[in-house]
Amino acid sequence: MEAFETSGSSRAQDTTRRAGDVMKTLAREILRLRLSMLVVNELVKRRAFQVPIHLALGHEAVAVAVSMAMSGQDRLLLTHRNIHYNIARNADLAAEIAEYRLESAAPGGGRFGAMNLIAPEHGIVYTSSILGNCLPVAVGVAKGLATKHAGAATFAVTGDGALEEGAFYEALLMATSLRLPLIFLVENNDWSMYTRIAERRCALDLQRMAEAFAIPFRRLSGNDAEACLDGIAALRADIAEAQRPAIVEVTLATLGDREVTEEGKPPRTINYHHGGAAHISYEAGPIIEESERDPIFRLSRQFQSETWQQLVTEARSPLDGFLA
């Protein structure tokens, strides 16, 4: 099973040790990201944008972990649900909002909308609203990067729905064949639009798929910020050193769903897909659910109450003005 474990390289171990020292930074970044998305949610509810926005409430821990694990030359390719990575990589929420408002003064000139928003200056070189489309492109980016910067890595983020596309298999095959340092990061929220995995397809064991390709695999819990950072940083170091791709499956919940009841029928869950999450508010945040589904709730329990409140207050301070 050696091929399926991350290497014990000194670089990987150093990265892991450093991660242990940065819990407060991790918490600050995750809080900033959660509250920033709650600001955007409020603006969506006010119909401030014409572009469709896919929030990623509940995806914060993995986005911050990836951002913190990235080195200077690393590249990140995303899907239409990219807001969490864009905000994690760019602390300027005003710039993000300007992009959504299609303002020409925005860093990207308002030319990409939300579903294709990129930020090359922050390593986000490509996003796609076509399921699975970014994965083959990531293979080319990884190859191009390898010709210019030794030691750099590429991250391709996708969802469990894209695993059903042939592009996932093809990209995996090509990246493995060419020995490219590329992490296929699958955010598994169990949903593809409005159907759960069990409602649409057979089970798919990504670990066994990684075994078939003889590449590393990690399964992480998206509500465990520290584990996400440790796991992704270690894997990033491994693939850069060993020059091979890897698969990371992050199980998480996209928050914003709600249960509805109709007379005479059993309650049913309406999944959040895009637009505003009507019953979630900035004021009531940052915790959305007091359950293990919410990475912020879990994170809050890792700090003393006073420290946590201070972190929340600090995170809110620069954001309150957006909703004035």
Partner: protein, 325 residues
């Protein structure tokens, strides 16, 4: 030299002048090297030639990923039909790459398998359809000498395009007449001059157009002859000037497409108010060519001669070409 030898030499010559190019595709460095098309690509250390797995979608995405990183690449494809598997990348990823200002060069070189006997799934020669989907450029390498010019200018240049050689022509001897490229992008070539009519050949119909012109010349009707290699963004000025002089336009297109660049030419002529008679000679598209067949695009040259000779001939739209010899 044969057509494929000239095309291969032109590719290698262009690579010699390039600093760094990633060439990739299935079987491009082994066995026949795609019938000689991709032989000896690694002309210096900066040129990488990669035999890839069979995954066209990923390979097209790979090229666009390289383009985003500013790395030039060429994707050689054994058969144009296979490229349908990469349609998402050629349309959606290209849209993003150009919007993002990607600086690299990405060229796909798909062989148009137009020999005919391969059967119902070896039928595509519709470059215009691909271009219409993705709004990119394509060039039909319908003539070895013109191909040299097109490859020199477009094989490695910022942006994305298709350069499509014709398998039917691979073993043919190169035409000795060097065509004159007459627009800045070398999408249009003047192959011969004359006053009796303006013959314009599209897609891979240049050989048929040359043959037709020879028949007309022998009958005392020498015509201007243009070969249009480009499919998109064509500057019609030179052809319009010719039609204004000759007053007679013969359009020849062998593609199995409803997207006819010749119809765009006719619109351009109408916009310019150039009076003329037009004779479109387009491939008849029907199900018979789903069966293996010689795939001959044969023109009824006698009927064209009659049309030229009898200027009062009233029919202006006729389809004389057909697919089966």
């Amino acid at each position: 030299m044969t057509y494929v030898e000239i095309v291969n030499a032109a590719i290698r010559e262009r690579l010699t002048r390039a600093e760094r190019v990633v060439c990739f595709g299935q079987n491009i460095t082994v066995a026949s090297c795609l019938s000689g098309l991709t032989r000896d690509l690694a002309v210096h250390e900066g040129i990488e030639a990669i035999n890839t797995p069979n995954c066209e979608n990923a390979m097209a995405g790979f090229g666009f990923g390289l383009m985003l990183e500013g790395v030039d690449s060429i994707f050689f494809v054994k058969q144009l039909d296979f490229l349908l598997l990469a349609a998402d990348q050629m349309v959606n990823t290209w849209n993003m790459a150009r919007q993002a200002g990607a600086t690299g060069s990405f060229t796909i070189v798909p062989i148009v398998v137009d020999s005919g006997f391969e059967g119902p799934q070896s039928r595509l020669n519709n470059l215009a359809d691909f271009c219409s989907l993705g709004d990119f450029e394509a060039y039909a390498l319908s003539d070895a000498n013109a191909a040299e010019t097109i490859i020199a200018r477009h094989l490695v240049a910022p942006g994305f395009r298709l350069l499509a050689p014709s398998q039917r022509l691979f073993r043919s001897a190169a035409n000795q007449e060097a065509p004159e490229g007459i627009d800045g992008e070398a999408g249009i070539f003047q192959l011969a001059s004359g006053d009796a009519a303006t013959i314009v050949a599209f897609n891979f119909a240049w050989p048929q157009a040359r043959s037709l012109r020879a028949v007309l010349t022998a009958a005392g009707h020498p015509a201007d002859l243009f070969g249009v290699a480009a499919v998109n963004r064509i500057d019609w000025t030179a052809i319009a000037e010719s039609v204004a002089r000759t007053g007679q336009l013969i359009l020849i297109d062998d593609s199995r497409s409803m997207n006819r660049p010749g119809e765009r030419l006719r619109s351009a002529l109408a916009d310019r108010g150039i009076a003329h008679r037009a004779l479109p000679l387009y491939r008849r598209i029907d199900r018979r060519d789903l069966s293996p067949n010689p795939d001959r695009f044969v023109l009824d040259e006698a009927a064209v001669l009659e049309w030229i000779a009898r200027s009062e001939f009233s029919v202006t739209d006729r389809t004389i070409g057909h697919a089966h010899g």
